[in-house]
Each structure stands twice: as structure tokens, then as C-alpha cells.
Amino acid sequence: MKLVLEQLTKIFPGREKKNPKDVRAVSEMSLTIEDGELVGLLGPSGCGKSTALNLICGLEAPTSGRVYFGEEDVTDLGPEHRGVGLVFQNYALYPHMTVRQNIRFPLENLKGAQKLTKEEVEERVQEAARIVQIEELLERKPAEMSGGQQQRVAIARALVKKPNVLLLDEPLSNLDARLRLQTREEIKRIQRKTGVTSIFVTHDQEEAMSISDRIVVMKAGVVQQCGRPQEVYDRPANLFVAQFLGTPRINTFEGRVKGGKLFIGEDELLKTSAPDGEYSVGIRPEGLLVDDAGSFHCGVTAVEVMGRDTSVVFTHAGSGEEQLRAIVPGGSVASDKKEQAFSVKPDKIFLFDKESGERVELS
């Protein structure tokens, strides 16, 4: 089902004495999610991701704005009438029920025409359990399972009522690194298989990029950018998005454009058609090429071998940061090097307006 958010805003009013300021948790969020799409909602802690999900599922009422499921305006409907499946950050499996009872619970709530017979209920439970591969765990209690298993049960519980929209709030944050990797593939597989329109919340950019059809980057309640992962990575809308996506982090410098040329410190990097002036410059770590004839002269602090690649930690007069990084092919920089010149890949270097942080086209 298609999902449309229109100027969605949520303001939590401040309490009189203790906390007088209003919190603008979500601010004029507009977004269209196509049927069957998996969208990753991404942003730092406290940026309003969970609040956005709560607005979509109806647990919170928006201060203003509308939510549409397909053509229907559901803004004023309670969560029970929206047909959403929600997977909570800590799963929220009912501890006193077995896995089977947990998965069955949403079906037992169905009333009137939607009511299912006992056999249909069992069939649906079995089907949901099969999709997430927990058929042999049905008689266990949540406390008797691993985090990954609980997480799959939570997904099964969300899927069993065939929701219009599946919402996942940081479902992987309680898992260890290996299980995270495995489970995120699982989520993608389940989402493909069921074709349910899904929103996946995370603050891990790698996680979001790897499984989403599109990602939405938020900051302080405001959507910064929305697009396919590669597109957002290659053409970040502003400095925040550029810094948020990519590990290691993008290197930032103070730079200026003079006479159609971009300078960082004394180094002239490349030709540009951007207007003259001061800019913030971002260079992706993989955008620096080892080139002794290159124009970008850096002081090397450390050379970290990471197997296939080598990470060069360097400093530059044009940046206050001590930990600038370049990712280069293994062995291309000797470990005792104190200085190194680089050339830059033009498509890995971004100019940002100093005031607004918006990206300025390089050429």
C-alpha cells in the first residue's frame, strides 16, 4: 500500500516548570512511499525517528499534517484501525505468552467480518512462523530465546495480520555485529517475499544503505534528504548528510574558490565553476589517490593496514581535524612515510555553503 505523509509535524509541549521548552520532534515531514518499497529512516539519536513511526502507526496524534494509506486519510484513526505491523526496538513480546500465543494475539483481536476461524488462525500463525523460520520455537516463552530469535518472533507477530504497512523501529540494535548482518539480510528477504510496504528505522547508516530501496535522512525532526542510497551518498544535499553517510567519515576542510579554482590552504585542487568565496569542502576518504605529483600535500600521522586496503591518517593545514583519513590500496603508502601528496577524484569532493551547509555544484 502506498503511504503518503503530508507536512507532518509533532510538537511535544513543554511542561511548565521542569522543562519549559516545546520539543519539535518531527517538523513538516513530507514523504511518499510507493507500494512494496522498503524505506530506511536514518538519523542521529533523538532526531524524531521513533516519533515519526508513532505518527504513522497512530500511537501519537500529529500536531498538524496528514497521513494517507493509499487514498484513505487515516490521520484521525486509532492504531487499531490502521492495520500496521510495528516491531519495537526491544521487541515487546508479551513475556507471559508462548511464541505461538504471541503471534496469534493480533488475530484474536479481529472482530466482525474479519474474524477468523480457529483453523484459519492456526494456518496464519504457521505461515508467519515459516516466513521468519521459527516453526520449531512456537512453544517457547520469549525469555527462553536469543535476541535474534525474539526479533524474528516480533516480525512474525507484526506480519501475521497482513499489515498494510510494516514499521520496524531499530530492530537490530540489541544484536551483536554478526547477528545484525545476518538479520538485516533476513529482513530484506522477508520484505521482498511479502511485498509489504516497510519503513526501517536505524541510526546505523551502513545498515540503512545496505537494505533500503530508498533512505530518508533526518536531523532534529527535519528531513534532510530522501533518495536511493547511492544517490544520497554521491550527491548529498548538505554537509550534515555528507558527514552522516559513509565510514570512515568524510573529511572536511576550510576552502575557497578564487578565479575558478578551488584552494584548500595553499594547495590548488581543481578547476570549478562555483562562484568565488569561502566554502566548507568535503572529500570522501576513497576520493584521495596516492600521487607523488599530486597537488594536495598532507602530513601523515599513521598508516593503518586493514587487509585489502590501507587507511592513511593525515593532517592538513586547511582543516582543524586531527584525524583526516584516506582509504588507499594496500601497500601504496609506506608505513614510515611522514608526508604524502594526493590527487583528488572530482566526483568525491563536495562544496558546501558556509552559512546554510547546502551543497554547491562543483561544476
Partner: protein
């Protein structure tokens, strides 16, 4: 490390064991022995023989039957009523935000108030004197009823006041326990249930109740035990001559048999005490068995 002498542990336990033996075990055994000694004479400290006569006597004594009946009525009415009401009030308290702390304090006040002081308040509410019929009777009058003597009047009226009083006295503690049990249910379960389209009644029966059931069973079990041991509340309302008021309880009967005006029968008292013990023990075992099947301890 040096190997410890095997008896060392017992040495550490000795003070506590001694204390328990003197003040718990010895009296218990003594009571048991007394209860089988027939025709015990206080003055000569002698008895005729041993057997079950004391039990037979107690079980035939109309005062004991009355006390047994009273105790059972109090237990059966007050335990479910006070627990149910406490649950309702706690649910109400957990729903309101405004003035919640004030209400919590108000509901807890009876707990820290002296039993006899509360008894006095009930006297004012219910007692009929030459000058006034008591506040409750004034209310009954206002609605066109005729006055009832709750303290010296018909049995049902006295039992009503007794149960009212008992519920009133035991409720604060239950409210305290249940409000904290309710507050201990994570909010996220309610959110999950709402997203799953659960109605509020079903949320209560399928989620809230099971999650706080260990606390409810704790209250029911301790409530039963407490109510079976009722005595001081009766004295607070009806004075020390409970037999005359027809409001005696088992513990009251035991006391009367020992120290009452017609007392001095430790054998009968012991037999009655052991009968009470048997009843409480049986009921508690049944409770525990039920709770094992029903309550999910997680």
C-alpha cells in the same frame, strides 16, 4: 585456604537457632502437647490423661462455632472485596495524572493510622448513643430509611460494619502494592497491544492482569492469612467482650480460653489454635497450588 571444621557453620547458626527454639519451636510443641492433655488443671499443673477430648469439646462449643463462622464470613467477604477494590482504585490511580500523588497519600493514610483510632472514627460513623444515631444513620434517615444500630444491633449490621472496617484497614497496603505492580508493567506492551487492535478490556485481562498476577496472588495469600487471624479489629469496634456481642473470632476464642473472664483452659485454647493452624495451612496450600497453575512467574 584452611579447611573449615564441618561444625563451624552450625556454630554460626547457633544464636539464631537458640532464639527460634526458645520463642518458636518450644511454644509450638508446648501448644501441641497441651492440646492433647485432657482435664488439665492450672493449679496443680496436672492432667487426667491424653486424647482428642479437647478437640471434640472445642468443635462442639457453640462459642467456637460462632467464632469459626464469623471468621469465615470475614475472610470470604473481605479478602476478595478488598483485593478487587484495591485493584480498581490502583487502576484508577494509574490512569490519572492530575493530583495522583495526593490521592496516593490519602489512600495510604489508614495504613499509618492506629487501629484503635480508626475504630473510634467508625464508632462516630456507626454508633448509636443517647445523643446521636451516628453519621451513617443520619444518611439513612436522609434517604427515608429507619435507623439501624450497627454496634449493638442485629447480627448482619454488626457483620457489615466489621467487614467494612476490615476492608478499610487492609486496603491501603494492597493499593500500595498494586499501584507499584501496575507501574512496573512496561508501557511498550500497551503500545504493542494497541497497534495490534486490542480493546481496553482485553488489554486488561490478557496483558495487565497476567503481568501483575504474582502480586495479586501474594496479596490474596497474605490476605487470607491475615483475615483468619482477625481479632484486634473486632476489639476496636465491639470491645473486649466479643462473645457477648456475638462477634468473636477464632483468635478471640483462643484468647478468651486463656485469659478471658471464664478462661484458664490452655488445653482448649491450644486445640482451637491448632484447628486454626490447620485451616490456614490448608487454604494457603490450595492457594499456592492454584497460583502455580495460573500465575506466570517470569
Amino acid at each position: 585456604m584452611k579447611k573449615k571444621h564441618p561444625l563451624l557453620g552450625w556454630l554460626y547458626l547457633l544464636p539464631a537457632l537458640l532464639f527460634l527454639a526458645v520463642f518458636l519451636l518450644y511454644p509450638l510443641i508446648d501448644v501441641l502437647v497441651y492440646s492433647f492433655e485432657e482435664g488439665y488443671n492450672f493449679a496443680s499443673q496436672s492432667y487426667r490423661g491424653t486424647g482428642l477430648y479437647n478437640y471434640a469439646y472445642v468443635l462442639r462449643d457453640p462459642y467456637f462455632i460462632r467464632a469459626l463462622k464469623n471468621t469465615f464470613i470475614i475472610v470470604i467477604i473481605t479478602v476478595p472485596l478488598s483485593t478487587g477494590l484495591a485493584l480498581l482504585i490502583s487502576l484508577g490511580l494509574s490512569k490519572i495524572k492530575f493530583l495522583r500523588e495526593l490521592y496516593q497519600t490519602v489512600f495510604f493514610l489508614p495504613y499509618v493510622t492506629n487501629t484503635l483510632a480508626v475504630g473510634l472514627v467508625f464508632m462516630i460513623l456507626f454508633k448509636k448513643t443517647e445523643y446521636t444515631d451516628g453519621m451513617v444513620n443520619l444518611l439513612i434517615h436522609a434517604f427515608g430509611g429507619s435507623s439501624v444500630d450497627f454496634i449493638d444491633g442485629p447480627y448482619w449490621a454488626k457483620m457489615f460494619v466489621m467487614c467494612f472496617y476490615t476492608v478499610w484497614v487492609v486496603m491501603p497496603f494492597k493499593i500500595l502494592i498494586l499501584t507499584s505492580a501496575l507501574a512496573g508493567v512496561p508501557e511498550v506492551y500497551y503500545k504493542a497491544a494497541r497497534v495490534d487492535g486490542t480493546g481496553s478490556f482485553r488489554i486488561f485481562t490478557r496483558i495487565t492482569l497476567p503481568l501483575i498476577s504474582p502480586m495479586i496472588f501474594y496479596l490474596v495469600i497474605t490476605g487470607f492469612i491475615g483475615a483468619f487471624k482477625a481479632y484486634s479489629d473486632e476489639v476496636a469496634l465491639f470491645g473486649t467482650d466479643l462473645n457477648a456481642a456475638g462477634m468473636n473470632t477464632i483468635v478471640g476464642y483462643v484468647y478468651d480460653m486463656l485469659y478471658g473472664d471464664s478462661g484458664g483452659y490452655p488445653s482448649y485454647a491450644s486445640a482451637a489454635a491448632l484447628l486454626l493452624f490447620a485451616i490456614v495451612f490448608t487454604i494457603t496450600m490450595i492457594n499456592l497450588m492454584v497460583s502455580k497453575n495460573k500465575v506466570s512467574l517470569h
